[in-house]
Amino acid sequence: MAPLTDLSNVRTTVEKANGLPNAHYIDAGVYEEEKRALLFSQWAGLSVASDVPEAGDAVPLELLEQPLLVIRGKDGDVRVFHNICRHRGMILVEEPRKIEGAIRCPYHSWCYSTKGKLVSTPHVGGPGHNTHDAIKRDDLGLIEVRSHVWRDVVWVNLSGDAPDFEDVNADLIARWADFDLPLYHGGDDSKFTLEVKTNWKLAVENYCESYHLPWIHPGLNSYSRLEDHYHIEKPGSYSGQGSTVYRQLKAEDGATFPDFPEAGAKWNEQAEYIAVYPNVLLGVQRDHAFAIILEAKGPEKTIEHVHLYYAVPDTDRALRQRNSVQWQDVFEEDIFVVEGMQKGRHVEQFDGGRFSPVMDSPTHCFHDWVASKVETYRALNKAAE
């Protein structure tokens, strides 16, 4: 079978490359392919651990229509399971809630511990007989999805066969070692979602380059000019941009958020904004950080889940709210761009576009990663035919 798209012009130098073909943004077949090549088989961002702060807290979610359950066990560890019973595949948890004892399937009441162990199979051997030789509880626990928590983001590898998270992201973890410090989610006023009519990849592409900043975020021009930014590129792993003139938000009395202790003077005026492939956008600054998880809801719809973090658990509420509003304003300024590019992908003659060899290399870095993963996936499928 011929490949769904021709990626030969993507995987070349930025001077010569075209962007990904239209089908990667609008075609259901390519979306299905990318679902496996880019999200299920990699370490994808699912949610944040702060959503399950206490033991027993459970949140049902979907990753590309796959029902998953994020739960903090009684041991304090966050785990991710398929949110279905091993008996009849019934959804176990419909709404976020606290599991006080065991997870009981609402259908026939098979029960699981918060670590996923099958602990009760009522009437499985007939009325009042709760065991049967054929039902080995040790073999029928909830299916756990490989997960890893870093910077509060819960990352999952659905296929189970990606290299370890810390190996895949070793370079970024080392790059931001200064910020390997406790993060405190700002709470309900420090999270918001944006529903955007775009393919999730366009949100990545827009985030990781600084080229658009003076045009789309003119408010930055007075203190953070284009020349104050630098590219960040790690082929195969991440790309983004940095700023050398980070300016702290100040309250009327001049107060600022407390710094991350020990982050170091290097970060006094420096900040970095990195897209961790596939779908997580992170930002670090001396006094706060953020994580954006891009939830793909089809080829042309994305929900952006934004979370803001601070260096201490208790920050000034008014200043925190101002910060949330400020970031929301910035991210909303990007919406017409990513929605406009999405509409543009319906022009059949569009060739994927050409890049600025100087300004667009972080985006090209992402396209190269997408193309390489899709080509690897196609090659594996072809070999299996």
């Binding site: 004892g101 065991a102 009981r104 009441s109 009760s120 009522p122 009042g128 709760n130 065991t131």
Partner: protein, 70 residues
């Protein structure tokens, strides 16, 4: 039993888990066969297990004693 049955239905309707544990245990105690008793004990146990109620330990022990649980 019909009164007990009505109270069980009411407890189900109100999601009254402590009530369900208590009423199913009572039904088990009043049952006239081992199978019927274990049927009700199973329900009491499952609701105790789900809610993290202390009764779960004793209910499980009763089921194990009759070789109905592991």
């Amino acid at each position: 039993m019909s009164d007990l049955n009505a109270r069980m239905i009411a407890a189900h309707a109100q999601d009254d888990t402590p009530g369900l544990i208590r009423l199913y245990t009572q039904a088990a105690d009043e049952a006239n066969s081992l199978d019927a008793a274990c049927f009700f004990l199973t329900h009491a146990y499952v609701f105790a297990l789900e809610s993290g109620a202390a009764e779960a330990t004793a209910l499980r022990a009763r089921l194990i004693a009759h070789n109905r649980e592991q």
